[in-house]
Symmetry: none
Subunit: 84 residues, 4 copies
DNA sequence: ACGTTTGCGCTTTAGC
DNA sequence: GCTAAAGCGCAAACGT
């Protein structure tokens, strides 16, 4: 009884998650389609991915970190900080 | 100018993809939420994930894989694959 | 000068860590090589990884986990259980 | 016979890999120890990790990529390229 | 100690 | 088909 209810709840969780996973798969397909379309127009897909990565970084957080990073970079004589 | 048109198209691609990535992130959050909810009811999340993986596999492939695993476990003298 | 001494110590830390990271990378390469060799003899690498995961688990924990997985699989009306 | 030989070889592979995994674990422990030591001298561990990540990038490859990346970044009006 | 967040390894997929 | 990269899950680490 409580046991059966438990089974039902568990099954419901699985179904919800599997539905979400399906949606996620659809989105991944969409992304792939867009990149394929861009590629067919001559755009460089790896470079586009690189830009997407860069844009994904929260700009604020990046700047916060760089103060400390530059400090250590210069301190250890690794050459021009943020040169890349 | 063809160049500007190219920029516009590229920008549009980025925006479409970033929108899709946002959606995907939302879905991942949803999945995590469902698992958290299940956990709060006493379900074991890693075990649930294992079941989800099994359900995602084609039954035939799953049986093949398990047969191999059992074979290797037996071959190397590990304790009872069955009790697994 | 204390400042320079600090720089030197920091640099030393970086070098020690980077050396360790190199070693770790070498080990990962070795693991990959062994698996590749095994594969070339006809062994199934994913199945081997599954066995390695099982062997890495404390036997008692392993039994617990498998019991839960079987329980969930049964509860949700799936066929033949097993795996990790 | 060939069967037994197969078991032996498989077992040998597992043992080799498990030995390597042990070594890797030891290295990870060493890295953690070094960072702990650095922290105890007042160095900022997250920043150190950031520097390590930066140093890990092959400088050449980075520069190669940046030509294309900058092209796309400027093309899409995302603001100063490589500002970080 | 807990929850959140970051890094690490594995898996799978994309590109060559 | 193989090598290289990205996504994902897991675990340790950091801050509260």
């Amino acid at each position: 009884m409580g046991h059966n209810a438990s089974h039902e709840r568990l099954t419901a969780y699985f179904e919800r998650i599997e539905r979400l996973i399906e949606e996620r798969k659809g989105i991944n397909d969409d992304i792939r389609d867009v990149l394929t379309e861009a590629k067919s127009e001559g755009f460089d897909v790896p470079a586009m991915r690189a830009v997407l990565r860069q844009r994904a970084m929260a700009p604020e957080k990046r700047m916060e970190q760089f103060a400390l990073i530059d400090l250590y970079v210069t301190a250890t004589g690794m050459g021009a900080p943020r040169e890349a």
